[in-house]
Symmetry: C2
Subunit: 183 residues, 2 copies
DNA sequence: CCCGAATGAGACACTAACGTCTCATCGTAG
DNA sequence: CTACGATGAGACGTTAGTGTCTCATTCGGG
């Protein structure tokens, strides 16, 4: 009887990731519940998006924790992070594009916390001489988000095999497309 | 008297790039014309988006032509391409995310032509030994689009200086974040 | 200078989606 | 078994945005 709020959020995330303009009715149907019930649990579309935001932040934060970014080399940490974040990639890319709509007014401050962690990771990597210093931590952070979103989309569209997702992202982000000379 | 269709499209692009859900009325106001006039020139929102699509395709194609991808090294070609595409970056990122809404039905075939050109460029770069072969041309193409969109967004949000736009994108795409050993 | 074409402003009907409400049904705890 | 709470289905009014229309105004070419 008690509604599985988590399961509703996950199916909503799966749907909205594919079609961000989906109707409340479609979200309800996708979750296998009635529209009235959906409204009972989430006051409106905004509340639903907020809940998805919280979910995404929790998942990303969990991925950051699981990645243990400080253990071993920065490269290893990054690989663990991308691998850990993969299941939430679609949701995160939805939230990133969704956030652009909020005109700077009130973005969940959770994002700032996450941005700070990721950005600090890149900065530490620079200080330890593992990352280039001519690319700012802020840009590397944004690029990571962008590539995760692009990767999720490319997999969804069938242009990249799902199993290659972490490899493609990490290799491009770390090594770039240029063939290194010593190879 | 005769409406400057091009100018209307450009202001619409500028607005929709920032807020993709803007109203027809807002688009009209942004262009400094009445809503009725906007409707006289673009039958509806769909028609407007199609026109923006055509514009974006034309601009990207022009950038591809201007970049002369085959002259000199692949790296130089890529640098020229990113520099040439910079003014249209916002519009392109809007169109890329907008395209995700069309459920595979009818995407403008112009995109296929452009995708083919970019993808072929990366493939040639691989064949000439300039690009790694473990990253597929399709993924490099998607990553280029993604980084252009991310870059446009980061500049817009003030997280990256506008003048660094081409450098950040090309350097990351080519060289990656890892600090090379010989440096 | 004058006439026609295009524009801007606004009224209008229509639609889609939202949010609320009611009511019958169903599952489950007690 | 019973009663209570949650659910699903659907009706309802409201709102925002759309697309069409009219009409007065204005611009520009002849």
């Amino acid at each position: 009887m008690t509604l599985d709020r988590e399961q509703v959020l996950r199916s909503a995330a799966a749907l909205l990731t594919r079609r961000s303009t989906a109707t409340m009715d479609e979200v309800a149907k996708a979750a296998g519940i009635g529209r009235a019930t959906l409204h009972r649990h989430f006051a409106g579309r905004d509340a639903l998006v907020r809940a998805l935001e919280d979910l995404g932040i929790r998942e990303f934060e969990a991925a950051l924790d699981a990645a243990a970014l400080d253990e071993g080399s920065a490269e290893e940490g990054l690989r663990r992070l991308v691998a850990a974040v993969e299941p939430a990639a679609g949701l995160l890319s939805f939230l990133v594009t969704e956030n652009q709509l909020f005109e700077g007014d009130q973005v969940n401050e959770g994002w700032n916390r996450l941005d700070a962690r990721v950005s600090a990771f890149f900065r530490r990597g620079q200080e330890r001489g593992e990352f280039r210093i001519d690319l700012t931590p802020a840009w590397l952070t944004e690029a990571l988000y962008g590539l995760i979103g692009t990767g999720a989309w490319a997999v969804q569209a069938g242009r990249v095999a799902a199993q290659d997702f972490p490899y493609m992202i990490v290799e491009l982000l770390l090594g770039g497309a240029r063939r290194s000379v010593e190879k």
